[in-house]
């Protein structure tokens, strides 16, 4: 009986985060006063632009490397690609494809670098990749703020700071703004659906499903569960882990490009930061954990995350006369969720270990419980 209790308890534990969000959103939707059509439209847009980025987190989790905070490296690579195509004034779908092509080598190099570093910091992947993100951010700023327009020729003056070198704070991506979203126009009632974007996302999902069934995917699962055993079976552990990070970084690069084509403006110096934080928060809100995440978590998470942020400011305004409360919420909640998820993860690991050891711990348990 208590075993059953334990089962229900840990089930609740596992889904605590999505449940909280569902409850909050359910309360906030009527308060916000938004129409259903508006909500659906907003959600369609936001889910479309974010999902790809979040999906890029799945593969490192499978390989046991936790949440890849290093995905911001990919986002930076994508932005570098976008800066170049803006400079070359290549518009439309070709612009997007070219930005991806230009971004890829950067993403691969950064991914290999990140993977190699993480191999030297086993067990500390998350914190390492987070710090590495800061470090590479410095390199990125050096490149974009000083080298571009100086060592790297940038011909379009609209991109360059008035001092003659360095890229401006905000770049308007007019040439590629929403070109993917509007590639296949579809309107249902008043709601327009970004069909092409969703097709790309669907393709990505198929990729993940297929990838899981490959030998490489199987090896990653093995490494994720027990590295020494995988190693002793001859699976090239280090190489495989680097591959996982490279795939994630490259996909994050594409994800960032898709994200920015929808936004239409590139905040040169902080778009990528937000990409990492919000994607990870969304994934965790979807009920994923540091060691377990699936496509379902991505979509549940991204939907709840955005639903919350659509309705919260309005609900906040209607309730307290202040819209800022929503924006405040957004940042607060993102970081808060990540913190909670990390604590939960540590706690769960501890609990599992205790459970395994329990048989031999004897009366120590008395202390433990107190």
């Amino acid at each position: 009986m208590s075993r059953l209790n334990r089962g229900i308890g840990s089930l609740l534990m596992d889904y605590a985060v999505p449940l909280i969000f569902i409850v909050i959103s359910a309360a906030a939707i009527p308060l916000s006063g938004f129409s259903a059509a508006y909500l659906v439209q907003e959600l369609l847009i936001r889910v479309g632009r974010n999902s790809f980025l979040i999906l890029s987190l799945l593969i490192p989790i499978m390989a046991g490397m936790g949440l890849n905070f290093g995905m911001v490296l990919g986002a930076m690579a994508g932005q570098i690609g976008l800066i170049f195509v803006s400079d070359w004034s290549i518009v439309g779908i070709p612009g997007i494809v070219l930005a991806m092509i230009v971004g890829t080598p950067f993403a691969v190099v950064l991914g290999v670098l990140c993977g190699e570093v993480l191999n030297r910091a086993r067990g500390q992947e998350m914190v390492t990749s987070y710090i590495l993100g800061f470090f590479i951010n410095g390199v990125y700023q050096l490149l974009v703020l000083y080298f571009m327009g100086w060592l790297i020729p940038i011909s379009n003056p609209a991109l360059v700071l008035s001092r003659g070198y360095g890229i401006r704070n905000a770049i308007s991506l007019t040439g590629i703004r929403m070109v993917l979203d509007r590639l296949v126009p579809l309107k249902i009632g008043t709601i327009s659906v970004p069909v092409a974007t969703y097709l790309v996302i669907a393709a990505f999902c198929f990729f993940i499903v297929w990838f899981r069934r490959t030998k490489l995917g199987q090896d990653m699962r093995a490494i994720g569960q027990d590295m020494p055993v995988a190693d002793s079976a001859g699976i090239p552990v280090n190489r495989t882990r680097v591959i996982a990070i490279v795939i994630s970084t490259v996909l994050a690069c594409y994800g960032q490009i898709i994200f920015l084509q929808n936004m239409g403006t590139l905040n040169t110096y902080n778009s990528h930061d937000q990409a990492g934080m919000f994607s990870i928060a969304a994934l965790l809100i979807g009920g994923a954990s540091v060691s377990r995440a699936g496509i379902g978590n991505v979509f549940l998470g991204v939907t709840l995350f955005h639903l919350m942020f659509i309705v919260a400011p309005m609900a906040g305004k209607n309730l307290m006369g202040q819209a800022q409360i929503g924006e405040y919420f957004r940042v607060f909640v993102s970081y808060g969720i990540i913190a909670i998820a990390l604590v939960l993860h540590a706690w769960k690991r501890f609990r599992d270990r205790m459970e395994a050891r329990r048989s031999l711990r004897g009366p120590a348990e008395r202390r433990e419980g107190a």
Binding site: S2, T214, Q225, A233, S359, G362, P363, A364, R367
Partner: protein, 542 residues
Amino acid sequence: MPEVPLLKLENVGKEYFGNRVLAKVDFSLNRGEILGLVGENGAGKSTLMNILFGMPVISGTGGYEGNIVLDGRVVRFNSPFDALEAGIGMVHQEFSLIPGFSAAENILLNREALNGSILELVFSERLNTLDRPAMRRRAARAIQTLGVDIGVDTIASEMPVGYKQFIEIAREIDRTRTRLLVLDEPTAVLTETEARILLDALRKLADGGISIIFISHRLQEVKSLCDKIVVLRDGNVIREESARSASIRDIAAWMVGRQVDDSRPPRTGKVSDEVALSVRNLWVDMPGETVRDATFDVHRGEIFGIGGLAGQGKLGIPNGIMGLSPSGGEVALFGKKIELDTPRKALDSGMAFVSEDRRGVGLLLSERIDWNIAFTGMQVQNRFLRGIPGLGNLVRIRDDAAIAEETERYIRALEIRCTGPGQRAVELSGGNQQKICLAKAFSMRPELLLICEPTRGIDVGARELVLNTLRRYNEEYGTTILITSSELEELRSVCDRVAIVGEGKIAGILPATSPAERFGLLMMGAVGDGDEAAQREAAGNA
């Protein structure tokens, strides 16, 4: 023309940080031959096999001396993969299965069956998808060769220990190249039936031309399975003998270098009338060890044995009492009811448990021996702590001297072979690690100690030591002890009373001094064989 042996060891030696573990080891092995490698805990058996298999721990600690000759050529493996490549398969003392993978996935780990695709031409084979039906078929075939019935989709973490062992062996069988199979104590975790199945399977493999090196502390098995026996003592080959001509007594004597003395001093412990543990209508849903309806009492200060054939439910009883398997019924410790199904409650009431599945849990492998032994006692009973003079008991610091003393005591009592209390547990031989588990449970000083299979993996000489220590511990502290063991003789020699479990029920409880035939009858299913009388008799003794 004399046959070139498949494997020949010439003067193989090994030192760990100046501690000589193997001196000049010489022996040879022919095709299709089964060689039994026996020796005390810490004699160097696992080390020798690690050398043969090119384990990194060997090269990482300075390599080895001498030569390994395979098929007439000297080989020197730098990694296990070289050894695998040369056709050597090894089943380790520790398990190496991926917990969340199915039996099939584990058997074919890194040798998965793949669907072809053009991607393999462009990139690598690793982008091919797994051919799961083929994997299932191959795994099923390997499992079948072993003669056991394990579903290929069973998840490793949910398997009973015995299954895991078969899966590991099946993995080696699936490797077509395997010519020499090394098994390090494969039967230690198996029930008798499983062990018999395994031995039959090994015989079949040997008849098919695979050579086998078999390490075990169960000498009976070694004698019945092997063609040749090599006895290792303190890193030297003491004896190489045909299995047919050597008697088990001889082998034991060669191993420990003296006649094994299995007499025990007369029992001096006092068993009181007070009931320590009362079990009424216990049922336990433990896979393979179901308990249906067990009722018995254990008295304070008693050593109570639970025996019976494998699979009848004897292991289920302690596991059920501890709440490790779903269970029901009434269990009380010193009159206080214990809530079943919650390990917490069981532990709260002052019981300690040594599981039959000791691998992987319980020991902090990378910690020192003394820490492993003293840690829980320190946490729970505030032992091994002393106050700082002047501060009273406000601040207490670790009493390293007390810890060292306690550790030394157990090292001596159980003859744990180590370089000292400061050695890390991971550096001990398998049998010595198990002794640490026992020492740890002892040092917690519980009111009721439940021990499953206390001598599993422990050599013939040390087995007496362990049993005597149990006895002495019981006599010194008056601890009530419940021992579950598949070896009836062991139970009879150390316990006051022994219960035999059959079909999930207590078939009968007899004083340990009863003649062996009466136990035999109970085991054979003669339920109710004077158990009433026997119980009265036993109570009278108490």
